[in-house]
Every structure is written in C-alpha cells, then in structure tokens.
C-alpha cells in the first residue's frame, strides 16, 4: 500500500470520536494555521500542493480559492459538496462515516484560509444517517472549542452547519447545490457570475468536495511542497478510488496517484482481480459520466504505454482512446456484461436526473433512453445507432451545466468502442430479448482505437 494521507487511521478503534481523533494527531492543522499562519499563507500552501478538485472536475483548488472575491463587509461562505451521487462513487460516504472529524478539521482550516465565518456541509438526503454522525462530531468540536466564537483565542469565529438534500443528482453541480441550499429546486445557474463572486445568498462562495477539503489537513500539516512530492507529475497527492463492479475486492482505496491501472485492478492490495474467474472486459474509471474503455485500452494507451491512475494518463488519447479520472468511481465489467444494457441503464439515470431547464438535455436524454430501450429490447433498427450518435452530439456543449455532457459521453464512448454490440442488438432481436444474453465477443484488437 502506498502513502496514506486520509485513511491512515481509519481502522483505529474509536477514530470517530474527537478524543481518539485528537490523540492520533487530529486538529493539528487548525492549530498550525490559526496560530502560526495568515489566511493567505494557507491558500499559498494549497496552491503549492497542486491539489486538484476531487469531486470530478479536477480544477486546481488553490486557484479556485484565489478567485474568491473579498469585498469589505460582505460575508464569504465555504460550502462542502457532500452530495456524492455520481454512479460508482462512494468514497466521501466512507470518509464521513468513519472519520467525520477529518472533514470537520478540513472545514475549519479551509474556512480560516477563506475568511468564512459560516460554513455548510451539503450532504445528499439519502445519507441522512451520516448527517447525524457529522452533527454529533460537530457537537464535540464545539464543546472542545474548535468551532464557535474566538477559536483558540485567535478572534476567528466559525459556525458549521450540516444541510441535507432530498434526492437529486444535479445538486452535485455547484450552482444547483447553492440553489438547493437556499431552499429551491436544484436548477444550475448561468455562469458567470461564478460562485467565487456571487454564490450562496449572493455572496462570494467556495464550493469544494469532501475529499478535497479533507486533503487540506495533510497539506497544511506537512506543507504544500511535501504534498506535491507524492503522486506523479501534475497529479499530486493521493486519491480515494471507489472500486466496484465485477471485482474480487470492491471498496474504497486510497492510492498514491500514479499506480498502474493493471496493478490497481489485478493486485491483491487493491481490487484483487476479476471476480468468479471471469475475464476483464471494460471499465468506467471515473464515475458514470466518463467514457467507458475496453480492457486493452484501459490497461495500455493507444501508443502502447502502461495506463496509470493519474489525471493525465487516464485522459491520454482524448476521447478517441482515453477516458478521465473523474470522481474516481472505478466500475469494472466482466465479459458477461452487455454494454448496450449498461448504456441503457446510464441513459435512464441521466434522463431521470436532468433538471429540465435546457431543451437539449431534457429532450436529448429522453430520446437517448428511448432509442436505447428499443435496441436493448430487440426492437431497434441498425439506423438507430447513427441516430443515437447524432442525438448525443447535439447535447454536448449546449447546456448550462455539465449534466448534458455527462449524459452524452457514456453513450458516445459505448458506440465508439462497442459498436459491434449495438449492431448485434439490431441484427439479432430474438437473441437479445433475454436481458442475460451472452454479448458478442470483441472484434480483433486491431480494430480498436
């Protein structure tokens, strides 16, 4: 196992309590930041660390923080995005459920850096029981003086509130999240203005993912330069990967960025190989929105290099032959999985979750689901494949928020790499009527890419 920065103490008995968390060195980053650093110096360390947003977009966190407007007399907010709902992603749940204080510590240190005196953790409604765990931990932190007025005698005040959502994938998009936090429908806002200028209640706001905020703790403790030494190139630090699908050891793994994909899937340290002795067929490496890749392209780039678990290597080759690290929702398919059924499943998800504001997404996701439904059920025509390709292309880039792209990309990638399966569905309707039919074999590798 490589370097552990976030989950190092996850198996320590009682780590969920403030007492044990503190005994293991917890809250040191708050002490260090508040007593020895200026807010800007904390931001500077985050910039030096090279930390990139762990929710999926991978935007440099320090840069996001430096965009925050600071007009005098106007409150600023830090909002933690704990809406985790990208299919295949369950790392934030794991972190919050088992080490709630890691997030709370990060929230305090980050709020200090940003000059926020009121911060929120917006958590998806389905994780209601985790909101209770967080609230309990926040209560402990207030009682011990880590939250509230005049923290550590510094004059810095911070209130921290957990807000539950009520079931809407779109609220993971930061402006939809802010709308929801204001008590409204989760309709994404038109940008600009960006939240850094006009966010929660019209005030400057930073929205960061749970894992991003938790990573601020080791960055402040060890310094941004030390953090940047971990990982590979521009993919610095560690990343929580949620591994699921047809593997022997599903779960959350903290990896040092740079681990080869092959090692991640097959070594016993991580996924432990494909379950039930089946063959590795395909993988969605970064949550449902990123392109699916067939096994050979997942393990090696089109130029024949080993594919690595980094932002750069996973996207090597662009969408023609690459994918994305995304949220780290790593879904592995064995050779029994029908890619048409999988794509239909995802398209149902996006149709259900489209907020309905933008026509290309609202109408396009419904059409994609409809076409995939008939292909999947043996009622499709060969022309449907081109029609589907056409529809997805008309959604991408034409919507207020990235949900449209997220709905289009999985469909495009499935057709790009598994067109033969779609053709099989159109040509052999009788065979595909059984949802558990054996998918046709991959054509020779030479045709891929």
């Amino acid at each position: 196992m490589g370097k552990q920065l976030l989950l190092e103490n996850i198996n320590v008995e009682g780590i969920r309590t403030l007492e044990v968390y503190r005994k293991m060195g917890g809250y040191a980053s708050v002490e260090k930041a508040i007593k020895t650093m200026s807010p800007d110096a904390v931001t500077e360390e985050v910039k030096k660390s090279g930390l990139r947003g762990r929710g999926g977009a991978g935007f440099p966190t320090g840069m996001k923080w430096s965009f925050l407007a600071k007009p005098a007399g106007v409150p600023r907010y830090l909002v933690c995005n704990a809406d985790e709902s990208e299919p295949g992603t369950f790392k934030d749940r794991y972190l919050m459920e088992y080490i709630p204080h890691a997030l709370i510590e990060g929230m305090i240190t980050a709020s200090f850096a940003l000059g926020a005196n009121k911060s929120f953790i917006y958590i998806r409604g389905e994780y209601f029981y985790i909101s209770r765990i967080l609230e309990h931990a926040i209560g402990e932190a207030y009682a011990a003086g880590w939250l509230g007025k005049n923290i550590l005698g510094s004059g810095f005040d911070l209130d921290l509130t957990v807000q539950v959502g009520a079931g809407a994938y779109i609220c993971g998009e930061e402006t939809a999240l802010l709308e929801s936090l204001e008590g409204k429908r989760g309709n994404p806002r038109i940008k600009p203005p960006f939240p850094a200028v006009k966010g929660l209640y019209g005030c400057p706001t930073v929205v960061n993912n749970v894992e991003t905020i938790a990573a601020v703790v080791p960055i402040v403790n060890h310094g941004g330069d030390e953090y940047a030494k971990i990982g590979l190139g521009k993919s610095t630090g560690t990343k929580l990967i949620s591994a699921s699908g047809n593997i022997n050891k599903p779960g959350v793994y903290e990896i040092e960025l740079g681990v080869p994909v092959e090692e991640f899937i097959f070594s016993d340290e991580y996924c432990g190989g494909i379950a039930n002795g089946r063959k590795f067929k395909a993988c969605v490496p970064g949550g449902s929105s990123v392109p699916i890749l067939p096994a050979d392209l997942m393990l090696k780039t089109s130029s024949g290099e080993n594919r690595l678990m980094t932002y750069e290597s996973l996207s090597e080759g662009g969408f023609a032959t690459g994918s994305m690290l995304g949220s780290g929702g790593f879904i592995v398919y064995d050779d029994r999985a029908c890619i048409v059924r999988s794509t239909y499943n995802f398209s149902h998800f996006y149709r259900h979750e489209s907020c309905g504001q933008c026509s290309p997404c609202r109408e396009g996701t419904a059409w994609m689901e409809k076409i995939l439904h008939r292909l999947e059920n043996g009622l499709g025509r060969i022309e449907d494949i081109d029609l589907l390709w056409d529809v997805q292309g008309k959604i991408e880039g034409r919507t207020i928020c990235p949900l449209g792209d997220a709905a289009a990309w999985p469909v495009a990638a499935a057709i790009r790499h598994f067109r033969h399966e779609f053709e099989y569905h159109a040509k052999y309707p009788e065979k595909v009527k059984d949802p558990k039919h054996t998918p046709p074999p991959m054509p020779s590798l030479a045709t891929v890419g």
Binding site: E126, Y127, G167, L181, E182, K184, P250, F349
Partner: protein
C-alpha cells in the same frame, strides 16, 4: 384535508425552530428542504398539499415555493406509501451485481410490482438511482438504513424483521 389536520408533534416543531435559526437573518427559506423531511416523517411518509401548505405557513413562504421544491426532489412522496419503502438501487454497479434479480425476487415475494404497495400497507417497492453503495451491491435503502450485500436469504430476513417491528421507517430516524 385542511392544514389543521396536519400532524407536527411538539418535538418536531422544536426541531423545525432549531433548523430555522441555523441560517443568516432573512434566509429562512433555506430551512425548507430539511423541514419537508420532518413534515413527511410526521405525516405517514408523504406530503399532501395540506402538509405542504402547513410548511409554507411555518416558513412564511407562498405555497407554490413549497410545491415546486417538493415535486423536484425524489425523496419526497406525493402519494400515500407503505410503512416500509424498499428502495432498491438499480444503477450500473448494482446491476452488475444482481440488482435486477433482487427486484424480481422482492416482487415475487411481496406479490407486487415496482411502484406498488402491498394491500396491508406495509411495503412499497421502488427502484432508485445510485445510492453510493456500489462496493456493497446489491443493496436497498429503507428509511435511514442501508441494507447491503443482499442475497435472497438476507432479503427474507429483512422483510421478516420489518414485518415484526411493524413501524414506519423514515429517513429522519435515528439509527
């Protein structure tokens, strides 16, 4: 039904007042989503228009502001439901691990289809989108609880347990 018939225990009202105070002055609308959760739990697991009107009163909002939110989010039920809603995740990682078989099994066992409620009002089966339990698939949520790594025998045991307990399961339950 009038708003007078809407149930809000003293304890629930106290909880609502606490929530309302969490936000900056003038931003009390932020309390809407958490309070709708409480209102649903207090009123047989669903939001009637009377319940929504009551919440509007409580937060001094126009009723439409409550309706538009209640109809947007999937965790609010706008029709009566069973005491225990079995929300089976069917998104890809669960599908790869047998979610479709689990749904079929529950339908057969409870003799209802997805979206239906058993005649005794005990169970409703729903299929839902990814619940962040992909590493412990297949799974279902019932109230605040996640039931994971399900097999047919585990599902049997769960249904038996829920029948014996015979209580409504809410997201807001403390577990």
């Amino acid at each position: 039904m009038s708003t007078q018939q809407v149930k809000f225990s003293d304890e629930a009202l106290l909880e609502c007042q606490k929530i309302i105070k969490r936000y900056p002055e003038g931003k009390q609308k932020s309390a809407l989503i958490p309070i709708l959760h409480i209102a649903q739990a207090e009123n047989d697991g669903w939001l009637s228009s009377a319940t929504m009107d009551k919440v509007a009163d409580l937060l001094q909002l126009n009723p439409i502001e409550v309706y538009e939110v209640a109809t947007f989010y999937s965790m609010y039920n706008l029709k009566p439901v069973g005491k225990c809603i079995l929300e089976v995740c069917k998104t890809v990682p669960c599908w790869l691990n047998g979610a479709e078989d689990l749904v079929a099994y529950l339908e057969k066992k409870l003799k209802i289809k997805v979206g239906e409620t058993t005649p005794d009002g005990m169970f409703t089966i729903k299929t839902v989108e990814c619940l962040g339990s992909c590493g412990t698939a297949p799974m279902l949520q019932c109230g605040a609880n996640y039931h994971e790594n399900l097999t047919e025998s585990k599902a049997d045991a769960l249904i038996e347990k829920l029948r014996t307990e015979n209580t409504r399961k809410n997201y807001t339950d403390i577990i």
